[in-house]
């Protein structure tokens, strides 16, 4: 994997490096460490290299860029294709109360998968993959497997059912409980089964959960109840400008509200 890690100053810098250190040495073939703010922050990159404890066969590149952390990451990310960009949350806790300070601005502008670290650094043991029940789940599962396999972490596939029939006719039978839903033949249930099987083939311990209610609330509730270390989500529906106007940005909302580390997977052309 070709990783880009932000090593410059930021409110969650230490935590981001601690999370990256858990798997970077095992999965990366090349790592680019970047900082904004110019030469005065160059020593932070050396500090990051020391913290990551990378094996000698991993190629390390250092990039010191003028400008803000956002500008630095976007500049370097635009130069080549990275598999994963890792950075700590730049938004401070109280800034979440300001409606215009969305914490997903950087993630939205990047074209690669992102690991946005937030909250206290924890050993990565449990990952929660929030699935929309469609084919994009496989793209997210691919990134999850890359992290879960070397760390021997378990993965829970979560699907939230917020749909309800509009009319009283039997157009749309809807399983009202988790077991019935998972045993059913809906496209969502099939996707969950296939994704779970795909992850198991790669040696990942997998559990499947189905919850009923509002998507955002149920994902956050499961994250809290299951004490997961990372939330993995996809971002794919906003295909065009019209979609960006019409569709709710659930990934953005999760990035805003999720107190834990979030992995935002993106579907590659070959997925």
């Amino acid at each position: 994997m070709n990783l880009l890690i932000y090593a410059g100053p930021g409110p969650w810098r230490d935590e981001a490096l601690a999370v990256a250190a858990q798997f970077a040495g095992q999965v990366a073939t090349s790592i680019t460490l970047v900082t904004g703010g110019g030469i005065r922050n160059a020593e932070l990159i050396d500090d990051a290299v020391a913290r990551l404890g990378l094996p000698p066969d991993v190629v390390i590149k250092r990039r010191v860029v003028e400008g803000t952390p956002h500008e630095a990451i976007l500049t370097v990310a635009g130069e080549t294709m990275y598999d994963l960009v890792i950075f700590g949350r730049f938004q401070r806790p109280l800034e979440r109360l300001l409606p215009l300070r969305r914490s997903d601005a950087l993630t939205r502008q990047l074209r690669t998968a992102v690991l946005r670290v937030s909250g206290p650094a924890r050993s990565i043991r449990r990952l929660l993959l929030a699935s929309g029940g469609d084919q994009h789940t496989f793209a997210t599962a691919r990134y999850v497997a890359l992290l879960a396999t070397p760390l021997q972490a378990s993965v829970t596939l979560l699907h939230v059912v917020s749909q309800q029939p509009v009319v009283f006719e039997p157009l749309a039978p809807l399983a009202a409980d988790e077991a019935t839903f998972l045993a059913g033949e809906t496209p969502e249930a099939n996707t969950l089964r296939q994704s779970a099987a795909w992850l198991r083939e790669r040696g990942v311990m997998v559990a499947t959960r189905v919850r009923f209610g509002l998507v955002l609330d149920e994902i956050l509730a499961e994250l809290h109840e299951g004490d997961y270390d990372i939330l993995a989500v996809g971002t794919h529906h906003a295909a065009g400008p019209l979609d960006r106007v019409l569709l709710e940005d659930l990934t953005g909302d999760l990035l805003d509200r999720c107190p834990r580390t979030v992995l935002v997977a993106r579907r590659a052309a070959h997925d």
Binding site: Q164, A172, G213, L247, E248
Partner: protein, 376 residues
């Protein structure tokens, strides 16, 4: 061939209609758009005639009816409108009746305002009532009933505070300056059309109560004709075709609910229109709530037109205050408290549809409350 049937303002039905060869032939000979335009024109003409008949009947028998139901103030008028909506299985005719009562001097402005609010509350329960009958007959309809409950509690949650706002606006004199001047030209055109009809009815000595009943019948037929004039929705070429799979922005669904209902004039018909947009007849809860909120505003358009035709500027103002109050409350909720509001409504909905007992209790309360309101 599965087809949407919209015979009435407030019942969602999806039935199977078998077309006879004659019907197929007639559909081939007469283009669909022409049938819809004809239905729309006939619906509008009948609607205005119905309002005239109701107004004539209300002059004579409205007071007796109001006295019989003991409508003495705004609260009892709220219960009156609510109960009448149950009787007519629809809200729009009741709102139109409220306006004609006002025009005939049977109800004052405040009573008219609260009766219109009651009509909307009653209409919301009709969606649920039909589902509950299915449910009692052993169908697995809990989730389906949920949308009826959602429509009802969303309407109540917005309309009741909006009613307070509207009452304040009407009693404080804030809206006295609002004028509507479209009354005269509309009136003159319709007078020319209907004066001979109404004169003939008078000449025949048709009693007032018969005119009132005929007006109600004409009103219901008019709404049926207007329903038939609805444009068809192409699910394949619609920006909202993924309404069951993805979550749209609340403001977008709010605007869609307003736009669709400005054509359908009925919240429940607007809800049924979501079906062809969704491949499996499912919509996300996140999408329906703001949609209902938007639909609850433009559902007043037919009442606004009725007010303009029979009640003049004063009646128009009453309905406009209702619309503006509901719109204002809805926008405040959407912009500032939407997440909390959404969670509260859906939690309440889940609690109500949890089992048959809770649902039956809820329905019982919904039937008892308007009766109790009549006492005040």
């Amino acid at each position: 061939m599965a087809q949407r049937v919209m015979n009435d303002d407030d019942i969602v039905k999806v039935g199977t209609v078998t077309e006879t060869p004659d019907e197929v032939r007639s559909m081939l000979l007469i283009p669909g758009w022409m049938l819809r335009i004809t239905s729309a024109m006939a619906g509008v003409l009948l609607f205005v005639l119905a309002l005239d008949l109701l107004k004539e009947g209300a002059r004579e028998y409205g007071r007796a009816m109001v006295a019989f139901f003991n409508v003495t103030g705004p609260i009892s008028a709220l219960g009156f409108g609510w109960l009448l909506a149950y009787m007519f299985l629809s809200g729009s005719p009741v709102a139109a009746i409220a306006v004609t009562f006002f025009a005939a001097g049977t109800l004052d402005a405040l009573q008219t305002f609260t009766m219109i609010t009651g009509s909307r509350l009653g209409a919301s329960l009709i969606v649920l009532g039909v589902g509950f009958l299915y449910y009692l007959r052993g169908h697995r309809r809990a989730a389906s009933i949920a949308i009826g409950v959602q429509a009802l509690i969303t309407t109540a949650a917005i309309y009741l505070p909006a009613m307070a706002l509207g009452v304040w606006a009407l009693t404080s004199g804030l809206v006295q300056t609002v004028q509507a001047d479209a009354d005269a030209p509309l009136r003159s055109v319709f007078d020319w059309l209907y004066e001979p009809v109404l004169t003939a009815i008078d000449a025949l000595g048709v009693p007032g109560w018969a005119q009132f009943v005929a007006g109600i019948a004409a009103l219901l037929v008019a709404f049926t004709l207007l329903d038939r004039a609805l444009p068809q929705v192409d699910p394949e070429s619609n920006a909202f075709s993924r309404i069951g799979r993805v979550v749209y922005r609340p403001m977008v669904m709010f605007a869609l609910g307003m736009a669709v209902t400005s054509v359908t004039m009925s919240v429940s018909v607007s809800l049924s229109i979501l079906v062809p947009l969704s491949v499996r007849g499912l919509v996300r809860r996140e999408n329906t709530l703001p949609y209902i909120m938007g639909a609850n505003i433009t559902t007043f358009i037919d009442t606004l037109v009725a007010a303009l035709i029979v009640g003049g500027a004063a009646a128009f103002t009453i309905v406009l205050v209702e619309m503006v109050s509901v719109a204002l409350l809805s926008l405040i909720v959407l912009l500032f408290f939407y997440q909390t509001f959404q969670r509260s409504i859906l939690r309440l909905q889940d609690a109500i549809v949890r089992n048959r007992t809770t649902l039956a209790i809820f329905l019982a309360v919904m039937f008892v409350v308007p009766v109790v309101l009549l006492i005040f």
